[in-house]
């Protein structure tokens, strides 16, 4: 993310917080009420960021009509793994992107945190970000969209729905980072 992007992020964050304060919701709203679900572990992301990522996954790849839902595939844990394995700069950008997403709805016509909106409203907010005139919103939305969608469509459990016959090499050979991450998740009592 560029320096300009960072400045915009701060401005948007401040703007969002002001909107919230005016709405009488208070600062408690900004950081509380985030709970992991059974089997989830936050390794690369904070608990809050993981909850936002889960909300995003539900909006971007909801499943149905032959498609498995992103939540059912454990996609949020896969995203946590990517952030954990990414270099420091990229991981920091992804975390910032999720933080911005969580607090952006008041600037796009929806009062409430992103993770507290209905799935339909989350989709609407995200579409508005993609089509926004503000570069930062598009940059954040495109980055998150691509991360979620590549993780989803690269998953073998999705392939029957899209008519993809899969790799010719039958045995998956996970990278060292995946094995190390799985170990960490296991040690912390997660499902991975």
């Amino acid at each position: 993310m560029s320096d300009l992007g960072r400045r915009q992020l701060i401005q948007v964050g401040v703007g969002g917080a002001m909107v919230l304060a005016l709405g009488g919701l208070g600062l408690r709203w900004l950081g509380s009420g985030y709970l992991l679900r059974a089997g989830e572990v936050a390794v690369g992301l904070s608990v809050k960021q993981l909850c936002v990522a889960r909300a995003l996954v539900e909006a971007l790849v909801p499943g149905g009509d032959g498609f498995p839902g992103g939540a059912e595939l454990g996609l949020v844990q896969r995203i946590d793994e990517e952030v954990w394995a990414a270099d420091e700069g990229m991981a920091s950008d992804l975390r910032s992107a999720l933080e911005l997403l969580e607090h952006v709805p008041p600037l796009l016509g929806h009062m409430g945190r992103y993770s507290a909106l209905s799935v339909a409203a989350r989709g609407e907010v995200f579409e508005r970000m993609l089509r926004s005139r503000r570069d930062l919103f598009v940059q954040v939305a495109i980055g998150l969209k691509q991360l979620v969608q590549i993780c989803y469509y690269a998953d073998a459990r999705v392939w029957p729905a899209i008519g993809y016959d899969g790799p010719w090499i039958k045995e998956a050979k996970p990278p060292a980072s995946a094995l190390a991450y799985q170990k960490l998740v296991g040690e912390r009592g997660g499902r991975g």
Binding site: R78, D135, W168, I169, K173
Partner: protein, 522 residues
């Protein structure tokens, strides 16, 4: 001998004739030439060492193993996705195997406009002949053309555009379509199966999972390179170091990696052009839904390529990279290819979210598309900011003109061969169904940051060649200005994009560099 990071438990020392940083096309071929001439060589590679047995054709697994930044890195404003190798063999392990000689017109431009000496068509011809033998380069034959390839060939002929078989570096290709995930059959003739084994057989020692961090100096000479072993699981330093003392050091860390490394050595003050003049071949994609199945994910990515627009057409003299325009741009300035993406990447670059996106992906067998490698004219730059690499890549000016023309031509061809819908893949999800909609659709496409999905697979120019440090970083022998024994052998030295896939140009230039290094170590 190849030693991987996990095999190194304590600090190591080496003393050799030549130390090479990076094992892609530039570093591996130079190492092989020098080792076969009897020089002692150490190769240092930041990425891991993987063979065909590690290539499982799963996109995420392979992005983690062989792609720099796990495929997540982008330019500073998120306009282009950065694609580069991070493994023994470098980007040649995930490239498409397209293997063109540098076009003579581009070599002439480099000589006449940029003053490059010793890299003429005649000087490079014997190198190209040898490289083509070593890599088994041949034009793609009919059995390698998938349906999308055939549609591009047919469309180009229908529109009167010059189309040709793409020269390929392959042996007994099975046509799995997983070139970008590393070849599981050793059919693609990457550095992993060509010059690296040759270098090692001739005695070169290769250290993988080792980040080159610091050069030590003795006056105008580099005296040693110090690197740190990385933990492959996390990419973070693990503890042990390697110190290589050498008579000559060659930096071949790639179009992004080499300027990055040299900038971190604090050389910008002496070499003001370092990190400037970056090009990346930004590549716009256009997608299409056909009535018929095209199964674009199988067989080789590009058996046929449209060469009609490789050189841009101007009303007046043609514009040169980094120089102001003196003529009115008419069209072209890109190579035009069929596209090939496995479902993960395709899903990520197709427009939209939710159910609408899923319905698009449900049509996967009927989804095809094309891609253009833009021959940049507006330079970008690489800088280090707070320890982090920053890439600035303008899509405005002449680059923007070429992007728009490439979108138009791709839509034109796809509709001409029966696409029922063409998708530009932009954030606004622009789609058209008829040729008369092309002009208006392309006119409204925004080139503001992140509005389009563009790859950046062929970086170079950040340590360009020239006569003096006022306008370049290395001289005609690939030696860094002002230093007696520091060389660069990769696309960073190109003064402008080669206008075709750069692999053969890198290999041929590396042989010129190898001759200069050999002379200093005889």
């Amino acid at each position: 001998m190849i030693r991987q990071g996990h095999e190194l438990d304590r600090d190591q020392r080496e003393s050799v004739d030549v130390c090479v940083v990076g094992s892609g096309c530039g570093g591996a071929s130079l190492a092989a030439v020098l080792a076969e001439q009897g020089r002692s060589v150490v190769l240092v590679e930041q990425g891991g060492y993987y063979t065909k047995d590690d290539f499982d054709q799963r996109e995420l697994n392979m992005l983690a193993k062989i792609d720099g930044g796990r495929g997540l890195h982008a330019s500073d404003d998120v306009s282009v996705s950065l694609t580069y190798g991070n493994n023994v063999g470098g980007a040649s392990v995930h490239y498409w195997a397209d293997s063109y000689r540098t076009p003579p017109d581009r070599l002439l431009e480099w000589r006449d406009v940029f003053g490059i000496l010793g890299h003429s068509e005649e000087a490079l011809a014997p190198h190209f002949a040898e490289i083509e033998r070593d890599l088994n380069v041949h034009p793609a034959t009919d059995e390698y053309a998938n349906r999308m390839n055939l549609l591009v060939e047919r469309g180009a002929r229908q529109l009167g555009w010059h189309v040709a078989r793409v020269p390929q570096a392959r042996k007994a290709c099975r046509g799995s379509g997983h070139c970008m995930q590393g070849c599981s059959y050793d059919a693609k003739q990457s550095q992993l199966v060509t010059y690296i084994p040759r270098a090692v057989a001739a005695g070169a020692r290769l250290y993988s999972d080792l980040r080159a961090e610091r050069l030590e100096w003795s006056g105008r000479k580099a005296s040693a390179l110090v690197g740190r072993v990385l933990d492959r699981a996390t990419g973070r330093p693990r503890g042990p170091t390697l110190r290589v003392e050498a008579r000559v050091f060659v930096i071949a860390a790639g179009g992004y990696g080499t300027p990055d490394f040299l900038l971190r050595q604090g050389l910008k003050a002496q070499l003001p052009e370092l990190g400037e003049h970056l090009f990346v071949n930004p590549c716009p994609m256009v997608h299409a839904i056909f009535e018929e199945d095209v199964i674009q994910w199988r067989n080789i990515p590009a058996a046929w390529g449209v060469e009609e627009f490789r050189l841009a057409r101007y009303h007046g003299p043609r514009r040169v990279f980094g120089r102001p325009s003196q003529s009115r741009y008419l069209e072209g300035g890109y190579l035009f290819m069929p596209n090939q993406l496995q479902p993960g990447l395709l899903g990520a670059v197709l427009p939209g979210i939710g159910r609408a996106h899923a319905e698009l992906m449900r049509q996967l067998p009927k989804l095809g598309g094309t891609i253009c490698w833009i021959d940049d004219v507006e330079p970008g730059r690489i800088r280090i900011d707070g320890g982090r690499r920053r890439i600035e890549m303008p899509l405005t000016g002449g680059n923007g003109q070429r992007l728009r023309d490439a979108w138009k031509k791709q839509a034109q061809l796809l509709l001409a061969v029966g696409a029922k819908q063409v998708l530009f893949g932009d954030a606004q999800d622009t789609r058209i169904e008829r040729a008369e909609q092309i002009e208006a659709a392309v006119r409204q496409l925004s080139i503001r940051p992140a509005r389009n999905v563009l790859g950046a697979p062929h970086p170079g120019g950040g340590a360009r060649m020239g006569a003096s440090p006022r306008d370049s970083v290395v001289d005609h022998e690939h030696r860094v200005h002002g230093f007696d024994n520091l060389f660069v052998a990769d696309p960073s030295v190109f003064p402008s994009p080669p206008s075709v896939d750069p692999s053969l140009t890198i290999l041929a230039f590396s042989r010129v560099a190898a001759a200069a290094v050999a002379a200093r170590t005889s």
